[in-house]
Symmetry: C2
Subunit: 329 residues, 2 copies
Amino acid sequence: MSRRYIITTMEKYLITGFSGFVSRHFCEYLERNKVNAFIKGIDVHEHDLNFDDYKYLTFDFEKIDLLSGNDIEQVLCDFQPNFILHLASYSSVAFSWKAPIISFNNNTNIFLNILEAIRKLKLDTRILSIGSSEEYGNIREGNLPLREDTPLNPTSPYAVARVSQELLSKVYVKGYGLDIVLTRSFNHIGPVQKDIFVIASFAKQLMMIKKSNSSDGNLITGDVSIIRDFSDVRDVVIAYHLLLHSGKKGEIYNVCSGKGVSLREVISTMADILNIKIKIAIDETLIRPDENKKIIGCNEKLKRSLGWNPQYTLKQSLCDTLNYWDRIL
Amino acid sequence: MSRRYIITTMEKYLITGFSGFVSRHFCEYLERNKVNAFIKGIDVHEHDLNFDDYKYLTFDFEKIDLLSGNDIEQVLCDFQPNFILHLASYSSVAFSWKAPIISFNNNTNIFLNILEAIRKLKLDTRILSIGSSEEYGNIREGNLPLREDTPLNPTSPYAVARVSQELLSKVYVKGYGLDIVLTRSFNHIGPVQKDIFVIASFAKQLMMIKKSNSSDGNLITGDVSIIRDFSDVRDVVIAYHLLLHSGKKGEIYNVCSGKGVSLREVISTMADILNIKIKIAIDETLIRPDENKKIIGCNEKLKRSLGWNPQYTLKQSLCDTLNYWDRIL
């Protein structure tokens, strides 16, 4: 009985893509800040959170496929969330080249299913729609750092899906009055990230070299000269929390560090932290044609309008990422 | 045996949305110009062409749903077309507001299924991807006439789907080398158009008034002050034929008259042709919120690069449209 009362007064978050690493950090952020909240997680994959570890959060999890409009409508009807953190996405550019339709549908159609359910149920729910720096696509050097009003020129099926998601958001905000805030999120890194992502892959490989106690080792990689804008996932989830509470409806915000660093520098920093010597072995199959040499975003809008202020230095992020791999390897 | 020989030397056109009015005019254009061609029509709806009426064209028709990737792949594998005229679309803006997911999927997903089949089968097929002036969306007066490089600002689910189709086309041209030419087609009118479209609806109503022999009648309409850019469908199909043969891969072409005319002027011209007096009755439910007051395109690119030169005056188009309704009412 008391539980029922608590639920209705707590903020309710629906998190799609709940089993991913951003979701986990978002929950940890709420817990660390003693936010009493009810979290409903949904994902096609099982999660590996231990709900008993959390004192301030109450959890529920359901394994559903967002491609089923009926399933998501039922969840929304039952849960009536205040906020939706929409993290679910087939976010791999490489995969989108191999299976463009699956990639496209698992970005646009799942998003449309959520929007349609909200519209039909007339819910007063704020949605944070996560977009990607990939939307900027083919970038001219003169356009750096990328600002929210820089023209979009998407160059992969995944990037097109993200632009479509953004355009659909605008239509639903303007045409149906839905409450959607949008991001274009740049690369983020940190503990628990899977090694299909570049920095996690480096960290894992380097930690394995360290643990092998060999005097030096080979790190297998693609082009290490490319420059990217990395944020710590723990700063990213603060941005998402801020945007859910104080972002402006219909507005797009870059989520990025504003700084560019080459993959070579990242590798070198990690090797220094571990105090190991490594050789970089280029795997040609990992080099993507037409890849942007340099991607750097401008985060002034998010900083100025919402007071976001990233806390983690790149070195700290890399340290924590390496420690994570140290624990699990 | 001889038939097999003929088929392999004739140009082969796959027409999606074969049962619609643009397809019919495209076939009539080929026939009128004595083009020997093999036409494979596909549509979810039955067609009403009499194939025996055509001397130069050889037809085949299959009722398939382009949402089935397997079906379209089978058709493409069997037919191996030189050209695809991709007319199939849920092209109603109003419908897209009522059923956004159905509208979106029946534009983007059907298109992706075609592109994927072409890619998998490695066909050397040129595709004409039909887009819409709706892609320009919310238009500033200063941006008129709309040029191919005018920024897009789509404001309906349908318009977003068309922009997505365009962005996907670019990705498939650049990333997979597919041979796609694109249009942004403005309003087109002419005989056989269904009365769910505005000018056909006016023509039908006016012809009914004429036939009723009443001294005057009521024409039910939405906002008649809006200005649109109308082309005769018979000019449009010439543009499509030109683009299929001589358009530049990956390029977008406006297909439009370059002239703006208000719906009031259109109605007045038709009433004059019929020599009837009418009263305009505004149906508030037909007035769309946020509708652009004025849409006029620039057709210089199509004219200059491909020598397109529209033949039909607006008056002639309206005359022929009225004659069509005279015959069938």
